[in-house]
């Protein structure tokens, strides 16, 4: 019979698919156990709930199958006519209820633990932007942006011709990872600048929405040094898939070294592995801490100065709070004077890191998103002041770059825009001009 043949073929295909899927995956098919106390709890809860469902499934599906196999008309089964039985109805109302209670109790316990963000050893603020993350080491006085790694970015362009397999950690790599110490309770303060994002690292079992205008809290305590990867999980526009999260966890000593180097780096990001400065992406910005973030109660969360002079603060043993170092808001590089060649080179980089996501690598813009072209664009070929003003202050979706980039980089990227993609204004913009326009 045709039908049976079709069925056989289909079953064959299905079986083949199952086999392929069984063998071809290097990938773990289950939730990772993770590296924080919470992630272990969550994994256990997940498996517990899973097995409960499997158990119920076996019973329910088993009964259905028995009916289907034995109580067939084709097998000559005569229909019974019962249609009510209060006793069984009560039973199958009560039993699921009990099962649910058995699920709810551990879930509630874990939840209480997960939401307890008090008494951290340190605090980092995380801010989501379209489409990058900013990590603000509030107690250490510096912050920096973390954007998709350039090689991933290049390969992810439409018809890039680059095989994603050839890119290390495709879409899961950034220029500046977040760096944290292991074994410390770290409180994360998560917020957003423009639209809602969500910060998720699966190995930490932390997923917390970054909401503009509000700060959400979460905490992690990483058990093992390593590099952990995740990404934004709330739809945030065109670049939603392209704002990964990379967290490098180091032991306390290495972490201290990195911190010290960051504070001394004058704007360059320090690679936590090599401890060498890196001149990619946007620079590190310094600002002194204003609050005593380790204090457990709100009363002590008064501005630091109001409680105690910063220097006299009781150092929470072993925490980073002791090395707060006020620094100029914009690093020395801002005082620079560009030559045309320097500015173009730096500008090209800044453009690729910050602007190309919307304005496209070829400067043609993205009409679908309402992003205007730089190539031949009215602003990039018009009066310089308007160009500077637009880039500093933004407009609609166009971000206000004034609070994200320093004067030198802004000068460079504007110079670049005015002299690339077929634009030939010949203007060379200096950091001082940006400073004046701010």
């Amino acid at each position: 019979m045709v039908l049976n043949k079709v069925k056989n073929v289909l079953c064959g295909v299905a079986a083949a698919l199952v086999l392929i899927s069984g063998s071809a995956f290097a990938l773990d098919l289950n939730m990772p156990v993770g590296v924080t106390p919470m992630s272990h709890d969550v994994y256990d809860l997940h498996m517990y709930a899973f097995w409960v469902c499997v158990g119920i499934g076996i019973v329910v599906f088993g009964l259905m199958l028995i009916s289907i196999i034995w109580h067939r008309k084709a097998a000559g089964h005569q229909p019974a006519q019962f249609h009510e039985n209060t006793a069984v109805e009560v039973i199958w109302t009560v039993i699921p209820f009990i099962i649910l209670i058995a699920l709810a109790i551990p879930a509630a316990k874990i939840l209480v633990k997960m939401t307890n963000t008090s008494d951290p050893d340190m605090t980092v603020k995380i801010e989501g932007y379209q489409w990058k993350w900013q990590y603000d080491y509030l107690q250490n006085g510096f912050s920096y942006f973390s954007t998709l790694a350039a090689d991933s970015n290049a390969a992810s362009q439409l018809d890039s011709g680059i095989n994603p397999d050839s890119v290390p950690h495709y879409l899961r790599n950034v220029d500046h990872p977040m760096v944290v110490p292991t074994g410390k309770k770290i409180r994360l303060l998560v917020t957003a600048n423009d639209v809602i994002h969500s910060w998720w690292v699966e190995d930490f079992a932390v997923k917390v929405d970054a909401i503009p205008g509000f700060v959400n809290e979460a905490w992690i305590k990483v058990e093992k040094p390593g590099t952990y990867r995740g990404g934004c999980t709330e739809l945030c526009g065109r670049g939603h898939a392209f704002m990964p999260i990379v967290v490098v966890a180091e032991n306390w000593d290495d972490y201290q070294k990195w911190l010290a180097a960051m504070q001394a780096s004058h704007g360059a990001f320090i690679n936590p592995a090599t401890l060498q400065p890196e001149q990619n992406g946007s620079p590190v910005v310094y600002a002194p801490a204003e609050l005593n973030f380790n204090a457990p109660t709100s009363a002590q969360l008064e501005p630091v100065a109001a409680v105690l002079p910063a220097a006299a603060q009781p150092a929470v043993p072993g925490t980073a709070a002791t090395i707060v170092k006020p620094a100029p808001k914009h690093p020395a590089i801002a005082e620079k004077t560009w030559t045309m060649a320097e500015a173009m080179e730096r500008g090209k980089k800044v453009y690729a890191d910050n602007c190309a996501a919307c304005h496209m690598p070829d400067g043609k813009g993205n009409p679908a998103m309402g992003v205007k072209a730089i190539a031949g664009g009215a602003i990039a070929n018009g009066p310089l002041a308007a160009h500077i003003a637009l880039v500093l202050h933004g407009k609609g979706i166009m971000p206000a770059w004034g609070n994200q980039l320093n004067d030198a980089d802004l000068a460079a990227v504007i110079t670049f825009e005015r002299n690339s993609f077929g634009n030939h204004t010949g203007d060379l913009v200096q950091p001082a001009q940006i400073k004046a326009a701010r």
């Binding site: 039908l3 295909v13 299905a14 997940h46 019962f82 390969a155 879409l171 205008g213 309402g370």
Partner: protein
Amino acid sequence: MSTVAVAHEHHAEHPRGIWRWITTTNHKDIGTLYLCFSLLMFFVGGAFAMLIRAELFTPGMQLMDPLFFNEMTTLHGLVMIFGAIMPAFVGLANWMIPMMIGAPDMALPRMNNWSFWILPFAMLLLLSTLFMPGGAPAGGWTMYPPLMLQTGIAFPFTIFAIHLMGISSVMGAINIIATILNLRAPGMSLMKMPMFVWSWLITAYLLIAVMPVLAGAVTMELMDKYFGTSFFNAAGGGDPILYQHVFWFFGHPEVYIMILPAFGIISEIIPTFSRKPLFGYSSMVYAIASIAFLSFIVWAHHMFTVGMPLAADLFFMFSTMLIAVPTGVKVFNWTATMWRGSLSFETPMLFAIAFLFLFTIGGFSGVMLALVPADWQYHQTYFVVAHFHYVLVTGAAFAIMGGVYYWLPKWTGHMYNEKLAKTHFWLTAISANVLYFPMHFLGLAGMPRRIPDYPVQFTDLNQIVSIGGFVFGASQLLFVACIILCVRGGKKAEARVWEGAHGLEWTLPSPPPYHSFTEPPAPNLIWAHPYRND
């Protein structure tokens, strides 16, 4: 009942051609319009899904700009929900409810026409945005601000499209309630109504209660974008999360709006092909009512990661889990209906059985999602996508397909081609699982939803999913073939199409007369107890 009216036969007056369809007040015509429209929209929404699956076949961007991908995701969700699933259920309600309760037509026939004819215009508004500068809305079917406020010209069109769909749904629901409460044949008390009618009565309440809330939510967005209000702007004392509360106050009942009529259909099909009365009629009714009630107090389970206070998380976790109890009652009652029956496996029954298994799987993942700490891992990953396609596609859509096969002979007067239909079923059921099951693993392994491109370790599973998707999509062409063939001809169908079928609709000839019951059916046709043969 002897004073019953003379039935006016005005058939000769019916306008012909397209004008008939545009002006019709007949519940069958309007039901047909709804069903055809929803099939069309299923294909439109499905075509968007095919583009999604094609782009996700391999990592890297091959076919479209990431923004266009987001537009596809958004429109796929909106079109499937508001264009395919909901109108399909309304179409079935239009066709079947008057026949099931022994009425000639719906209570408010002119408004019935309007309910339908708003829909094509609403969809036109929505789909026209694809051709606008800046493209279609790309903020997801949930349309969260502030992202949604970044939409270009498409924005007001989308909002007004939602308003129109809301007006259409509310009018349709009012009509259904008025029909059920007012036009039942003498002798049909509420507790003798067929389950499908019960499920729709409660669904209609839900619709009237929540569609206006959705209208409110999108109106607030409109005001924030164009009139400087601060509903969702913290600087002015608002909160983006406020939108999510209002939206999900609509959105969660909405998902039950898409499953309760499915429950109704399944409760019709299973007794028929088990040749056995529905088990636990009254507890089935109470279960639907409890689900509907609970659906109003669980909405924030879609928002566990937004940073609600602990007490709120706990409350919504517990209330959500509770829904498993009445839903379980339904699943168990269906199983008990089959138990020691005399089962045969025509296509409607196959879809019903597949529904039982696969909806339950979707329900299980729902309960897992309800556990807040675990949801922090599952949320916004393909695990959620797997969950809701199990309940929506292998749940709601399978029930619709089963219902269509179940009633098609009644509507057309012809039997459909059983072989073709069974082929459709097997292809659909198998490919659906190839399509959706691996999504669980993708989600657990860390693949977020709504992304056009993904890290390479997800490639293999995505390819399987996409292949399943293409096969699933192509199989639906068989569905259309089955329907068209059945409309055009086939073995004559008897009045009681299925051996085990009970209910007033089966006392009418196939196809039924234009005005179903111009006189109330004889009371002895209404069972002393529904689904009981005595």
